[in-house]
């Protein structure tokens, strides 16, 4: 049906359908499952994502092998507390939810990779929060998840979503772009605005390195889940306001892939460069409880 974003967009525009309808149709053909079965699987996975986005908000996870235990509850208390925040309660809550999934992942809890385990907090935090804010129907939320996954599938096939291959831009960056496109659809934006939001997010993050302290999926991964959830939201807003991307979406994906290849191996999940190679990083590893 389609090989890239341009063809996906063209199909949606020609048929006057949503991007998620086209992605769903492609999945039906590819998997030989019915649309109802596909929606059910997505619903089961979304349930796992919602749980991980919530689980660490009020109770910190176990400190064993965990450097980021308690970050989600600290952020949640700030988002919902008396203290005046800068970005507003909505953005602060989105960040808390993204941190929660990351914290659950770090503590050997149950998560759903989206597109990877290291970036599992971004899409759930964005979709869950936008759905709540807009009081979206459950079916529309699942369709937004399908849009997000559809964009992710295109990047998986035409480039990469692996930090070891493309750096953090390929994991958290792509997750943000997926979430941005889905958020636009959930808010009733056009397919073109979804594509624009996708491109803007990925351009905003292009070049980000993968430098986990001690090789653990914790620091700075968790904080990047929070910041990239916000990248998704602001990119969606830019697109819906009418800001253009100017660069073709498939070319943005290709550029991201090429940048990933140009990054030295020290900056691609080896913990040999970036913040992983700092004195503070080394000290954190020494202090890590029970490792």
């Amino acid at each position: 049906m389609y090989k890239n974003i341009k063809e996906l967009l063209t199909l949606a525009q020609e048929r006057n359908e949503t991007l998620s309808q086209i992605v769903l149709e492609n999945e039906v053909k590819h998997s030989e499952k019915s649309p109802e079965e596909i929606l059910q699987i997505m619903s089961d996975r979304y349930e796992v994502m919602k749980n991980s986005a919530k689980k660490a908000l009020e109770h910190p996870t176990s400190p064993e092998g965990n450097l980021i235990c308690g970050i989600a509850s600290t952020q949640y208390a700030y988002a919902t507390g008396e203290k005046k925040n800068l970005c507003g309660d909505f953005i602060n809550l989105v960040m808390a939810r993204a941190l929660s999934s990351s914290e659950v992942n770090a503590s050997m809890g149950k998560i759903c990779a989206m597109p990877t385990a290291g970036s599992c907090g971004i899409v759930p935090a964005v979709i869950l929060s936008v759905a709540e804010e807009r009081k979206a129907a459950e079916k529309d939320v699942l369709m937004a998840m399908i849009t997000a996954s559809g964009f992710g599938a295109i990047v998986t096939e035409n480039a990469t979503v692996a930090g070891a291959e493309g750096g953090c831009q390929a994991e958290c960056g792509v997750a943000a772009a997926m979430a941005a496109a889905a958020a636009v659809e959930l808010c009733g934006g056009t397919p073109l605005q979804s594509v624009t939001a996708f491109s803007l997010s990925l351009m905003n993050i292009m070049g980000l390195v993968c430098d986990p302290v001690g090789g653990l999926v914790q620091i700075p991964c968790a904080q990047r889940n929070a910041s990239q959830a916000v990248n998704a939201l602001l990119s969606a807003d830019l697109a819906m306001a009418g800001v253009q991307s100017y660069i073709d979406a498939d070319e943005v994906v290709e550029a991201m892939y090429k940048v990933g290849k140009l990054l030295p191996m020290q900056l691609k999940e080896t913990a040999l460069g970036g913040v992983a190679a700092t004195c503070s990083g080394a000290c954190l590893m020494k202090a890590l409880p029970q490792l």
Binding site: H30, M108, C112, A113, S149, G150, A153, A164, L216, Q218
Partner: protein, 221 residues
């Protein structure tokens, strides 16, 4: 687009790493099926990144959980050490050098009553996908993506045709098949990936051949 949306929205797993945690548990689970769950002690030789960064990713817990039959999305993974102790399953981890092996590799040795039952080498190749590369010295390739039949037989004429005939008679389509042996006329093994699941009855039919020693069915879905 041939990539499924559920390759992106998934897998549902226990964190933190699809390769170091989910993949490790899956290797263990396949290995358990190869030895039919029959062991009272297990050791894990860790190589490369599994050895160097495995601890922080719970690779050890995940491998042990896997050999106990616990799935990649089961929260009991983090408690596998305690569960093994409750089951009186002895376990041990050590560093091993496996020259030329994949960076995320493990060699699992199963014991029963003090004797080695089987030695299985596997690798976690990314995104939770795995490869069993060696069983008792035989080079093989089991990914667990399709239902798989593992056969150990005498290297004699007629065995493969027996296996293929029984599968065909039961309407089972063979996707891939690999036979390997170390020496002519000695033991050989056969790994067959099929499109559908098979039941106990078909397994028994496969076993009913004088040259077939072991038949196992590996299902990872």
């Amino acid at each position: 687009m041939n990539t499924s949306i559920f390759q992106v929205a998934g897998p549902v797993m226990i964190g933190p790493s699809s390769s170091h945690t989910a993949g490790a548990a899956k290797i263990g689970r396949i290995a358990r099926q190869i030895v039919n769950g029959d062991f009272d002690r297990v050791t894990f030789g860790l190589y490369g990144s599994f050895d160097k960064t495995g601890k922080g990713h719970g690779t050890d817990k995940a491998l042990l959980a896997g050999v106990m039959g616990i799935r990649e999305d089961d929260e009991r993974i983090s408690k596998s050490f305690e569960l093994a102790e409750q089951d009186n399953l002895e376990f041990e981890f050590y560093s091993v050098d496996l020259p030329g092996a994949h960076e995320n590799s493990v060699i699992i040795t199963f014991y029963k009553n003090g004797e080695i039952r089987s030695r299985i080498q596997g690798a976690s190749v990314g995104g939770g996908n795995v490869r069993i590369v060696k069983i008792d010295g035989y080079e093989i390739g089991i990914s667990g993506e399709l239902p798989t039949i593992f056969v150990k037989q005498n290297d004699q004429k007629g065995v493969i045709s027996h296996v293929a005939t029984i599968l065909a008679d039961n309407g089972i389509n063979i996707a891939t098949m690999k036979v390997s042996r170390m020496q002519k006329k000695q033991d050989a093994i056969c790994v067959i990936e099929i499109d559908d699941s098979i039941d106990e009855e078909i397994l028994n039919q496969l076993k009913a051949h004088p040259y077939i020693q072991i038949v196992r069915f590996i299902a990872c879905a």
